[in-house]
Amino acid sequence: MTIDPSRYAELFRTESREQLSAMNRNLLLLEQGGEDQEALGAVFRAVHTFKGMCATMGFHSVAEFAHEVESLLDRVRRGEKAHTPELMDALFAAADALEGALEGVSESSGMTEAMTAALQRLHDVAGGSATSEFPAVRLAGGALVEVAAADPLEGPGVIVRVKQRADTMLPGVRAFLAVTKARTLGDVAAVSPSEDALREATEPQAFAMRLLTAHSAEEIERTIRTAGDVEHVEVDASGHTRRQSRAVVEVVAEGASAAPAVAARATRHVRIDLARLDTLMNLIGELVITRGRLLQLSAGIGDPRLDDAMQQASRLIADLQSEIITSRMVPVWQVFDRFPRLVRDAARQLGKEVTFAIEGKDIELDRSLLDEIGEPLVHLLRNAMDHGIETPEARVLAGKPRAGRLVLSAARDRAAVLIRVADDGKGVDRAKVLARAKAGGLVDASVTSLDDEQLLRCIAQPGFSTAEQVSGMSGRGVGVDAVQTKVRTLGGLVEMRSVEGQGTTMTIRLPVTLAIVRALLARTGSERYALTLTHVRETLEYGEGAVQQVRGRDVLVLRDEVLPLLDLRTVVRQAGEPERSREIVVIERGERRSGLVVDELIGQQDIVVKQFDAPREGLALFSGATILADGAPALIVDVGSLFQGS
């Protein structure tokens, strides 16, 4: 096997980010909890592992820097350095410098400016070089190779020893299953022999794992036994105390290649290049389309045996598709986890007190969506702290607790994921926004109040509040237009609810996955269009009773509600006469609803969203296109954009 350095670079990047994320998370805990040995230990381990990874990759300047940080931490751990706010700031600065250094790092890179500055701060705090008593071990070749602690089972948690029965069939699979079962109880910090080795095992195994869990030994044993073919389970809680005496061993391994050191780390997941998942997604998309064609063909032939086989293949394809979609899903904490740090920094900067909570960490979202959503969320969180949450003094005056409450939450809602940023601040000053909107000609002079949706539309105007010079204006325009633009390109939408004096909630509604969406196929004349279901509320027959004329315009009367009617035929500028029997799709975006008249509803279908090069002119109504069962392309109507003109 040839080693492709770029693959390791990618692995390094992902794993080193995880270590930095752990470092940040535990630094926050440390800051909040004072002398928290657990958190301190975790920070130390994260930096230590990070250092080892950098050294393995040959990134010496970064490794050296990490080493300095580690040395300082070690002194703190041994009680030689007291916890001070300056120390915490220096450590946070160091974490930032390390993160910055990861960008474009190479074997020959030197220290970045941020690293030099952070190092200076560390030295200031430590009172002289922190490293004096902790010399780095170096090879003639310059490589500082580190082997993680000799026994991976040393550390916090309980040690679970599992022995498989002698007659175990597929011992590798069973062992793997046992580890998977253990994960349902908590974090599996280490497995020995390694998980990869276990999975390959062909002989019955005796293995051990270190499990971070609050469950009792009986529960652990019972859970692991469900993996099957388990002869014996032993739960040892004494491992926890051994941690104190754990020594950090730095070993120089001559001529060791980079690969084993990286691979030896206990991996909990198999990492797959996102591009490969994209390819899989495209392939399954093609397969789904082909299935549609095959089903049509086999229905035409009418052979029951063929139908049977087709049904089975069809079900398998559906299962495969959902598996592939699932494999692309990642929990939102992967992005949310960096926000506590951001909130802390921003609160300090703004002189505000903020209690930050994250809810729904485990809600999953398509990887590609999650990657894109971080930036908009940063905007929203900053806005909430900058414009929403008041200063502690102002809050006390208003009869609120000194610290503002900021909640970032994720929740599933049918085929959508809702991500909310809610604060209990002062809310948007509607009167000011209205005055500004009138001055800017955004709303009619006769308007006396703005509802939430109008409010959002006003402040999402590019430059709406940046142009506003009045101080104390609680506009949330900073970046709201950017947030809205970004979210729209992801097929989602932004909603806002603001109550003066009580706070503001911004909601981002996103489809769970980008590539395959459930859509309603509609026909108008000879053309077919796909309407994404996110915006479809219900469908109904075009009846005389429901459709009435108000001031010369057709409207839809639906349960005492009068909705404007749009005709898809007009929307897509189709020539010819409408058909006699037609149907109505009730579409909604936020609070707004509307009826869309089509000639025929063909049905619901999972469609694969494809991008295409749009012509220069042409309606900006489409969020992509899909290929129908007969192979013809159909445009996907972005229902949200239909509300713009009405």
């Binding site: 495209n282 998309g285 093609e286 389309i289 390109t489 053309e527 929307v571 897509v572 500028r573 189709q574 494809k610 991008q611 295409f612 090069d613 749009a614 012509p615 220069r616 002119e617 042409g618 309606l619 900006a620 109504l621 489409f622 969020s623 992509g624 296109a625 290929i627 192979g631 013809a632 392309p633 159909a634 445009l635």
Partner: protein, 147 residues
């Protein structure tokens, strides 16, 4: 150069720009686009915008699915040219090429006039693929590209 017919005329384009030639197929109309944009077609799972060269040169739209689509790349985009049929591949250049006069240039998309045939009895309009790409697709700014 690839020689083909569109709107009854002999046309040509650089062979380097040609990716593939496929049979014409019904295109999905792109609402709001000019008439000379034939629409969107599916070529083995990839969606391509097709320019109807005949309509672009002022002739009537070819009905049905006769003819071919020449898939070309220019200005960083891949798109299709709907043509009546592909004729030949020839080396044209030097003396055979003649600057096109303004009257025969259909709005900047014809680069040159090429003399084809033994006695130069026929001339072909050499299409400027880059210019067609720029004219038809949102090339300069990527923002209108769906994605």
């Amino acid at each position: 150069m690839l020689l083909f017919r569109a709107a009854g005329r002999l046309c040509a384009c650089e062979l380097d720009a040609v990716r593939e030639i496929v049979a014409a197929r019904p295109a999905t109309r792109l609402p709001g686009a000019p008439a000379w944009i034939d629409g969107l077609v599916n070529v083995r799972g990839t969606l391509l915008t097709v320019v109807d060269l005949a309509v672009r040169f002022g002739a009537a739209r070819a009905e049905g699915s006769a003819g071919s689509i020449v898939i070309v790349s220019g200005a960083g985009k891949v798109f299709g040219l709907r043509v009546d049929g592909v004729r030949d591949v020839r080396t044209l250049g030097g003396d055979a090429l003649e600057p096109v006069d303004a009257q025969r240039d259909a709005g900047g998309v014809v680069k040159a006039l090429a003399h084809v045939g033994a006695a130069g009895d026929e001339s072909a309009l050499v299409c400027d693929i880059e210019a067609i790409a720029r004219e038809a697709l949102a090339v300069q700014d990527g923002t209108t590209t769906h994605g």
